[in-house]
């Protein structure tokens, strides 16, 4: 019996298949780096009364440096957001089949099946029936993805208001900045709380995946993994004969090592930040 690989998407039988494009992987890396930059520089301000706040803000070089880093990471955020929208628009135009981006198994748009999957999942939790079988994207992955959309829009807009208050005061009343402060902070708190607990559990820490799933960095999974995590997609492609077109080579040694380092560093950092939040709240 071969030892269980560290990376969940290396487990199981069969050749590798592509799951994410190089652009998607690069954008997710941008999301990780910029989000950590934003959280680390924003958290001390949100929890200014916490014992660790002064330490953390000095660790990043003081309030002024924190402000610069926060704004730089905001620009990175806007950049990946626009790049992603551009890439999606390009794909829609190029594909010749725009409909499949908005409806069907390959779409990120929630489908009736997602609702049934949620219900089925809860039935399974209580021992009534089998676990739902997912297609290309489970409802959890769609929630993650759309959550980022909502988050970037809300946090980004309120952040811009707070970045350029004198400009926005030309057409907004001053209390809009009070509202922006509340919305920006609380939505950011929701985003980090969700990502560093729920997303981490669903993607990396649940027993089937523990300790990590590097598919977002390597871009590829084994067909065995695909049959477990996305059985409907596997069957759909096998029936349609489009599975072979996805065949990928194993990831390079260097790519793997980078993925391991970035992956575990992100997990550790994220969990640490959640601990800081709990410390501040309790």
């Amino acid at each position: 019996m071969t030892p269980r690989p560290l990376n969940a998407s290396d487990r199981g039988a069969g050749p590798y298949v592509w799951r994410f494009t190089p652009l998607q992987r690069a954008l997710h890396a941008m999301v990780i780096v910029s989000f950590f930059g934003l959280v680390i520089t924003g958290l001390p301000l949100h929890f200014a009364h916490a014992a660790w706040a002064r330490v953390l803000i000095r660790l990043v070089g003081g309030l002024h440096a924190a402000g610069l880093i926060h704004r730089f990471c905001a620009i990175v955020t806007f950049a990946y957001f626009i790049m992603h929208l551009g890439a999606v628009a390009y794909s829609i135009v190029q594909s010749g089949n725009p409909k499949r981006f908005f409806w069907g198994p390959d779409s990120m748009v929630p489908q009736p099946k997602d609702l049934f999957d949620v219900i089925q999942m809860f039935k399974w939790f209580f021992g009534k029936g089998e676990q739902p079988r997912f297609d290309r994207f489970s409802y959890m992955e769609k929630f993650d993805y759309l959550g980022v959309f909502w988050g970037v829009a809300i946090i980004g807009a309120s952040g811009l208001l707070l970045w350029f208050p004198e400009f926005f005061a030309k057409f907004l009343p001053g209390w809009a900045f009070n509202v922006a402060t509340i919305v920006h902070g609380d939505e950011a708190l929701l985003a980090m709380s969700f990502i560093f607990t729920i997303h981490f559990f669903n993607v990396h820490l649940r027993p089937e995946k523990f300790p990590i799933d590097l598919v977002i960095f390597t871009g590829r999974t084994t067909t065995g993994y695909m049959r477990e995590e996305h059985p409907l997609e596997y069957e759909r492609r096998r029936t349609a004969g489009t599975l072979d077109a996805l065949t990928a080579p194993p990831v390079s040694r260097a790519g793997y090592l980078w993925s391991v380092v970035l992956g575990f560093a992100s997990l550790a950092l994220g969990v640490s930040l959640v601990i800081l939040v709990l410390w501040a709240l309790l």
């Binding site: 309030l63 005061a169 009070n178 509202v179 919305v183 609380d186 929701l190 709380s193 729920i198 995590e229």
Partner: protein
């Protein structure tokens, strides 16, 4: 016999003695003569007082016998020979000293500073003279002789005041007043006697004390004329004059409440600017709390003097209610006030709530509903998915315990 009469007779007598050609200098200016006659082995003890010693003092024109009265002209002089009280001439200073804590409290001879204790005996130069112990540059050291002395402070100060008393002189040297004197050599800077007076030194809880709360603005105002002028017409100045108190019993703040007494630092020092917010918060409790919920407050809380603190909007000494047209926070003055930091602030901009309270639905409905929406969103999303996670872990554990092995949906064979 009144003191004045004694003095008059002394003067008369001195004139007679001089006329007789008896000069003190003959013996007291001659060390060789004084050896073995109470002048010590060198003849230079206290009895040795050559006329030259008084030459450039404030008492240069006095003759020995004007102060040294009531001794007989014979030799050796009577041991009961005494000195006329300084009050004879310095009546006002004497009266002040007599009611001071210094005069009233000394239980051990020598513990209370007397005239000569501070001014010297034969070498009375006057405070303007650098050589005088009472010169501005020497006063802290003079007072420190006793006030930095553990025995003196231990004997005469109440337990709760001991540590303050012992450190007062040391702290003074680190203050803006102390450094102005010792580092910048600025003799107009306040030293001990400028606040505590020279002769009528009384503890702060004594009504007649220059450092009693009731007298603080006048005492500081002796130098800080412009500030006290502003303070007097401010809301705090009004409360100070009328004796008004807050519902929690706080009196109006006076200078030392914000600036301290012996730890006064420059008011542009970041640490002081950040600390003074705490002082405002002692009375303005709700405003203090809501301030720290804003960006301004959070930056301040983190220890950075980069965002507005109380005085930036309300001014340092000229704080007035927002209903006062002269107030920096009066509606029509807000564009100018906010504009001090936010260069392009306009009438929209100043509708920001610097003390906005999301929990106050009636005053800040928009903040309340935003806060409520965000909180409900945050709690419901996290609650749903934490439940989802918890149930997932539970189901997997149950399946594993039942020996179903891998818990995930099996791929079709």
């Amino acid at each position: 016999m009144t003191i004045a009469r004694v003095a008059f007779l002394a003067l008369l007598w001195a004139g007679t003695a001089a006329a007789q050609g008896v000069t003190c200098e003959k013996c007291h200016g001659n060390r060789d003569f004084l050896v073995g006659k109470g002048g010590g082995p060198q003849g230079d003890s206290g009895l040795y007082v050559p006329a030259s010693r008084l030459q450039d003092t404030r008492h240069a024109s006095l003759r020995c016998a004007q102060c040294h009265v009531d001794y007989d002209a014979g030799y050796p002089h009577r041991a009961t020979s005494r000195v006329v009280p300084c009050q004879t001439c310095h009546a006002a200073e004497g009266r002040d000293w007599e009611v001071s804590i210094h005069a009233a409290n000394a239980t051990t001879a020598g513990d209370a500073p007397t005239c000569v204790g501070c001014h010297g005996s034969h070498t009375v130069y006057g405070a303007a003279d650098r050589r005088s112990p009472t010169n501005a540059l020497n006063v802290a050291a003079l007072c420190g002789r006793c006030h930095a002395d553990l025995r003196i402070t231990g004997t005469y100060f109440a337990t709760e005041n001991k540590s303050t008393a012992r450190t007062a002189v040391a702290h003074y040297h680190t203050t803006v007043h102390g450094t102005a004197l010792t580092r910048a050599g600025l003799v107009v800077s306040a030293t001990c006697n400028d606040c505590h007076t020279a002769h009528k030194v009384l503890p702060a809880d004594s009504a007649g004390s220059s450092v009693n709360r009731a007298n603080i603005p006048a005492t500081c105002g002796a130098c800080h004329v412009g500030v006290v002028e502003t303070f007097d017409s401010s809301a705090h100045g009004f409360a100070y004059r009328t004796g008004a108190r807050t519902p929690t019993g706080h009196p109006a703040p006076v200078c030392v409440d914000c600036h301290s007494a012996h730890e006064i630092v420059r008011a542009d020092q970041p640490q002081w600017l950040l600390g003074v917010v705490e002082e405002c918060g002692k009375c303005h409790e709700r405003l203090y709390e809501t301030y720290f919920e804003t960006y301004h407050g959070k930056v301040t809380r983190l220890g950075f003097n980069l965002a507005a603190t109380c005085a930036d909007c309300h001014t340092a000494h000229n704080m007035r209610p927002a209903s006062d047209t002269r107030s920096s926070v009066y509606a029509e003055n807000l564009v100018a006030t906010c504009g001090r930091c936010h260069a392009n602030a306009n009438v929209n901009f100043v509708r920001y709530h610097p003390h906005g309270d999301p929990k106050d639905r009636h005053r800040y409905p928009m903040l309340f509903w935003s806060w409520l929406f965000m909180t409900v969103l945050l709690v419901s999303v996290m609650a749903f998915f934490l439940l989802h996670t918890l149930l997932w872990v539970t189901r997997l554990s149950i399946n594993r315990l039942r020996g179903r092995g891998r818990a995930h949906s099996e791929p079709p064979a």
